[in-house]
Amino acid sequence: MSGKINQQDFARYFSSEVVDHLASNYVMGTLTTRVRNRVDALRNGFECRHINERILFWENRLSPLDEKTPELAPKAQTWQNIQAQLNMTPQVASGSVQETSKKFDWSSLFLYRWATAFSLMLVVIVGVAVMQKPETVGNLSYVAVLADENQKPQVVAATYGDTQTLMLDILELPEVEEGESFELWVTSKTDRQTRSLGEIPIGQSSFNRQLTDAEWRLIKDSDSLLISIEEIGGSAMGEPTGEIVSSGLCIRLSAWQQQDQA
């Protein structure tokens, strides 16, 4: 087996230089399979706990990079596969999870959890904004509270599925220089690409417009919205080039409404 080590090699694993090289490369995933198997065999042994300690050191020190990684809701099927693989009792293991996934997908569940955490902000800001909309617009489908880097809400974006309308309530946006404007972007949860939803007029407290079918598909696949400062006319690059002044997760609401109406 490639992970086995003879006595001659074994002595090398007490050199701090070798240990740190192995541990750091283990954590970065850059060891060959053969060496990695060897390290796996060593780190679990009593004599080489120092290797395990160094691996833990690097895992802990590099883990802040993982904090920055955006969440991606897993498929509902993944949880069902896990339960099946572990021969778990669905009624016990799934609990609210499976019940929820019958109603809507995992992304909604996690967005729901996010929304719960920020419920006060949503109730106060979104609730008021939504209630003020004319009833003819249609059923609210998605909503996002866009906030600055200090989490101060700046824009509430809402879309209405019946009419494919985008409505923006602009609470507060920074001043822009002459020749600049704001551009709204949507980030896809599928491919993580950011695509434009057009410019936002300067100096208006609210704004609405009809979305094209393509834009509506972007909304349905949205992870988050963001606003950047661009030259008037929008980014020529097809992606944000200026400062990102505001961003927020997109929350799908239609499933809840259907549930309420049922």
Partner: protein, 186 residues
């Protein structure tokens, strides 16, 4: 449990999993699967592969929950490491690295990973120190470390990208890690 911090809550759930509590396992999945799936997707760039890795990782988490040591690592660090290693294995096994624009987008992005000026502050106590220390590295050292850890690039792939011998990449990684370690242990 209501007054517990998130790491404490996750520790409690892991402890319950170790005792075979399936409800706790479901709660754990609910709490962290989005983040862990995001980490897998970051490396694999495939929703299907990310979900498969997530599945494998959660099966491992269930079986290994009793081995988690709260004095050694935060629960998320422990679970994220399981996901990362499985994602690295998967990408090596598939020998798949999407060519062209996607790789370029990753490479364009890795500088911004180290530069947090436009991002939310890092959550963990080591976060700021890590950023500061990464910033002291040469760009080739910083880039190769982030390409490996963050996106799962192999040394050969990094060498191909930089059009430089693999031994040079090994040297960048080795020197970068030594400098990073010296900085982090200050």
């Amino acid at each position: 449990m209501t007054n517990a911090t998130e790491p404490e809550r996750l520790q409690q759930l892991l402890a319950q999993c170790a005792l075979g509590n399936q409800t706790a396992f479901a709660q754990l999945y609910e709490s962290v699967s989005g983040k862990l799936n995001g980490i897998a997707y970051r490396i694999l760039h495939s929703v299907d592969s990310a979900n498969e890795v997530l599945q494998e990782a959660f099966v491992q988490i269930w079986h290994k929950a009793g081995e988690y040591r709260s004095d050694k690592a935060e629960p998320m660090t422990w679970m994220a490491s399981i996901v990362r290693y499985r994602a690295y294995d998967r990408i090596r096994f598939e020998q798949r690295r999407i060519e062209g624009a996607q790789v370029q987008a990753e490479l364009d992005n890795f500088e911004s990973i180290a530069d947090s000026s436009h991002d939310q502050p890092l959550m963990c106590e080591f976060g700021q120190q890590l950023e500061d220390c990464l910033a002291t590295l040469d760009s080739s050292q910083q880039g190769s470390i982030l390409m490996a850890y963050y996106y799962g690039f192999s040394r050969e792939e990094i060498s191909e990208h930089f059009k430089t011998p693999v031994n040079t990449v090994k040297s960048w990684l080795r020197r970068g890690i030594v400098r990073l370690q010296q900085c982090l242990e200050k």
